[in-house]
């Protein structure tokens, strides 16, 4: 319907974005009726998402004409941004930015590097940046889920963890059930995406390939390739982040740093 009213593509895009954002805001209103306040988070996320994607779109136009090696800088910047965004899910978990950035860099970075070297991801900037960004974005989400779950579990089980510490347990041992639960929970979306591929959803990349004239079977296989890479990048990231974050939940004297209602002491003794 909108296409018949708006012939200018830019105006059409903005109207379509407004319609989609209105759907998102409906959810906010429904949540508000149930005393769940998402207003600020969703408004900021919508505005930020639109601004960022338009900005990136504009930069991509320039990058398309740049040499391939410039994609390394673009992907590195994405990794730092992803580290910062997913660290926020860990709230006051100390060291979460460093852990997130390193984990995404190693997890997603390694998969991108190996797959590019093997030729699974084309080295052309038009392929490397979109596919690389998909891997980084999914690794970011998985990492955010893992840290958020770890933080919540540690807070909810502070008594059990301190009971284990009081019995002389190694801090890593005392949180191992929660590390495992965080890892498993964080990988649910990636596993379900693989499971439901082609049945519940046909991802955008495949649709794009079909629209650009690729053979349907190859488009389908490549979509599987992308999802398998997403799982590998997300899984590696989550494995690393849940291992690295353990150490940050404890002080050097093996005290649980993350407890409900705890505040930092005025001055730590030597």
């Amino acid at each position: 319907m909108l296409k018949t009213w708006f012939s200018n593509q830019l105006v059409l895009g903005l109207v379509q974005a407004t319609a989609a954002a209105a759907c998102a805001l409906m959810v906010v209103l429904l949540a508000r009726k149930r005393q769940i306040h998402l207003e600020t988070d969703v408004m900021v996320a919508l505005m930020r998402g639109l601004t960022q994607i338009v900005a990136v779109g504009s930069v991509l136009v320039l990058l398309l004409h740049a040499p391939s090696w410039t994609s390394v800088f673009a992907l590195t910047a994405m990794i730092f941004a992803a580290g910062s965004i997913s660290a926020r899910r860990a709230k006051n978990l100390p060291g979460s930015y460093g852990v997130s950035t390193w984990s995404i860099a190693c997890g997603a970075g390694l998969v991108i590097a190996v797959m590019t070297w093997l030729g699974v991801i084309d080295v052309a900037i038009t392929s490397l940046i979109p596919v690389g960004s998909m891997l980084i974005a999914n690794a970011m989400n998985t990492n955010g889920l893992a840290l958020n779950r770890f933080r919540a579990d540690v807070l909810a089980h502070a008594g059990e963890i301190e009971a284990a510490l009081s019995l002389g347990a190694n801090p890593n041992e005392s949180v191992s059930p929660y590390v495992q639960a965080s890892l498993e929970a964080s990988l649910i979306p990636a596993i379900d995406s693989l499971r439901s591929l082609g049945i519940v959803w046909i991802p955008g990349l495949m649709a794009g390939m079909l629209l650009s004239g690729a053979r349907p079977v190859y488009a389908a296989i490549y979509q599987f390739v992308v999802l398998a890479m997403i799982f590998a990048a997300s899984g590696l990231t989550s494995l690393l982040s849940t291992l690295l974050i353990r150490a940050h939940a404890f002080s050097s004297a093996e005290q649980l740093a993350l407890r409900p209602g705890i505040a930092k002491p005025k001055a730590a003794a030597a």
């Binding site: 510490l165 009081s166 019995l167 002389g168 347990a169 190694n170 093996e254 005290q255 649980l256 002491p265």
Partner: protein
Amino acid sequence: MTSPGPEPTSIVLEAQHLGRIVDSRALVDDISVQVFRREILAVVGPSGSGKSSFLRLLNRLDEPTSGTVLLESVDYRQIPPRELRRRVGMVTQRPFLFPGSVASNLRFGPLQRGETLSDEAVDLLLTQVGLPGYGERDVANLSGGEAQRISLARTLANQPVVLLLDEPTSALDENAKRGIESLIGEIIAGGNLSCIMVTHDISQAARSASRVMLLEGGRATRIGQTQQVLHV
């Protein structure tokens, strides 16, 4: 039931000007106290007086912002935390048993040092806490009093020299409470242990302890013989 008189020459644990300030508030304020071998020291005071905060400093679950603790004359910062916590065992208000069998809970502490508690040792501990034959039971099926006894046995499995009890009976009914009290008295009388028991129940402190420390606003306002401090 009152613990046997302390051996005054044998100081097991000594808090020296111990303090912890959080957000400009003194949770524990300059507490100095000595704990002798085979005594029960009760720490009493109103809610928020710093009883549990004080106890958590003694096995270094929290870090003091001032002062220190000597365990058998050694500054506890010189002792690796895991070894310190094995020697200064703690039983909390809620037992926090790990999922699984009673025996696996009892074996947890020794296992951290690579030791496997034998079936006989498990039976002995269970007999000591009045629950013989409970080894294979699932902890999910225990009553509150039984769970607290298992929590105590689990701590004893580590062979501590000091037992910290943080309101161990406050969640129990009167029968279970008296049972745990007499059990603690027997364990201290029959072993080489010292005990620091936090309680808000003055009559429990009078029944169980040989000495009492009264806390108010994080400060120790009185320390002495139970009768002198509590006027009982």
